[in-house]
């Protein structure tokens, strides 16, 4: 459903993403791995409209989406989480998740002023609680965002993205800050999301999780695509082992 075609982006002469191409199959979990500074987050930023590419193209359902702003991409079914948390610290945890459902709610200013959305809102709230339970932060139900620990916020972001009901979900290091048990749970969660028909594009350094849940893996190094394939193929690739995994991964 997503096609990346010779995508490049440089910052002050340094090519953060350098002529990268690959396709993402719908309903798959597709991972992007690579050393620090390889260009993974930049790639996400290019796909999700945060940056504009220097050259190349991104196609969503065969239509180019270059230069479209994030909100337009959201309307087309894309949503993402961030490596550097983007939680609205002026709202409660639950409101953050409800914000995720923006496109599925009546967001007119008039309706807001006149209070026409009350009943619909109660449903949204119920759904938000459901999602918070789902990602394992039920304890944060009545908390304000400022009162939460890093790991909880991390998962709250996933809940918010899920609330958007995306067809394509981009997750940037969702397991960072989670322990092995929690990482395992998030891995299962991602599989469940994919099974529900949402395509997942994942950046993650936890190889155990990546290898366990990915249908397809792209390896990046210094902005370039280094390799691509299934978990086995990638793991067997000596270049990948040298640049990223290390011998005993």
């Amino acid at each position: 459903m997503l096609a990346i075609k010779s995508l490049s982006r440089s910052f002050g002469g340094v090519a953060a993403v350098d002529n990268v191409s690959f396709d993402v199959q719908s309903g798959h979990v597709h991972s992007v791995i690579g050393p620090n500074g390889a260009g993974k987050t930049t790639l996400f930023n290019l796909i999700s409209g945060v940056y504009e590419p220097s050259s190349g193209e991104v196609l969503l359902d065969n239509t180019p989406i270059n230069g479209l702003p994030p909100e337009e991409l959201a309307r087309r079914g894309m949503c993402r989480t961030f490596q550097n948390l983007q939680i609205c610290m002026n709202m409660t945890a639950c409101e953050n998740v409800m914000l995720g459902a923006h496109l599925h709610a009546n967001t007119g200013l008039w309706s807001g002023f006149l209070g026409l959305t009350r009943t619909a809102d109660r449903k949204l709230e119920a759904r938000a609680y459901e999602l918070m339970d789902y990602v394992g932060v039920e304890s944060a139900r009545h908390a304000h965002a400022t009162q939460l620990s890093f790991g909880v916020l991390k998962r709250l972001e996933i809940a918010r993205a899920l609330a958007a009901n995306p067809r394509l979900l981009l997750l940037d290091e969702p397991a960072a800050g989670l322990n092995d048990s929690e990482t395992h749970a998030v891995g299962e969660l991602i599989r469940k999301i994919a099974a529900g028909g949402t395509t997942v594009l994942l950046v993650e350094h936890d190889m155990k999780m990546v290898m366990a849940i990915s249908d397809h893996i792209v390896v990046m190094d210094q902005g370039k695509k280094l390799a691509e394939g299934t978990a086995q193929q990638v793991r067997a690739n000596p270049a990948v082992v040298a640049a990223y995994l290390g011998v005993d991964a």
Binding site: T41, N45, V50, F82, Q83, N84, Q86
Partner: protein, 299 residues
Amino acid sequence: MFNRTTYKKMSDLPQFLFSGLTTGAVYALAALGFSLIYNASGVINFAQGDFLMLSAMVTATLLTKGMALSGSIAIGIAVTVLVGVLLYRLAIQPAGNADVVTLIIITIGASIFIQGVVQVTLGKNQQVLPPWTGDAPLQILGAYVLPQALWVLGTAAVLVAGCAIFFKGTLTGKAMLAVAANRMAAMAVGIPAKRVLQLSFGLSALLGAVAGVVSAPITTTVYDIGLMLGMKGFVAATLGGLGSGVGAVVGGLLVGILEALVAGYISSAYKDAVPFVLIILLLLVMPHGLFGSRKTDRV
């Protein structure tokens, strides 16, 4: 309307430029103070203009009491720096981790308070300081320039250079930037955040104080002049790019020159409005001002 456009001589240009430069230099010094506190705390200090007023008012009052000019100036500056430090110690620091807007409102309160105290103790009369080196105007490129204007320009240049060295070349200067960027991390590496902030308030009060005494022989001073100077200083600082020393100076000079040229060539009635229109337009093209740094976060 008759006559609006009748006598616009190109030969007046040097005069307009010099006039603009002089007012601009005062704005620049006010802007520099803004940038300094902003650099350390992210706060727009609405009392910045009052620092300029305070030093000049104190100095003028001491002069009328018969004290020598140099002594009066020294005390005027010292009092102002003390007030700057106290502003931090008594009003900003106790507010703790309050939002920046909250701190800004505190500075508004401080500005009103300072004006109130000055008005009660030093009076509401307009005051003027004697020029430092005579008041016979010099003729430069056909323009009449007061010797004091050269003092203003020179002082501005020195202070700007000083600020640049402070931020670029000293660890304390960098620590100040670090405190603004991330207070917690700054404390974690052992930067005494409170002392650094206090220093920033003291320094910007010093900048304001010097600006006040050097410009008062030209602009005169009065207890409520701070609002106007503060506003112009803020405009200049934003135009140049808040937080940038060079920006503050260029912004200040630009605002001053724009005002003079608009008054001289276009319309003195709209002399304050035209620069604002231009500045807003410029910001639309360069949202962070002329020398401002771009965003500093990534996602």
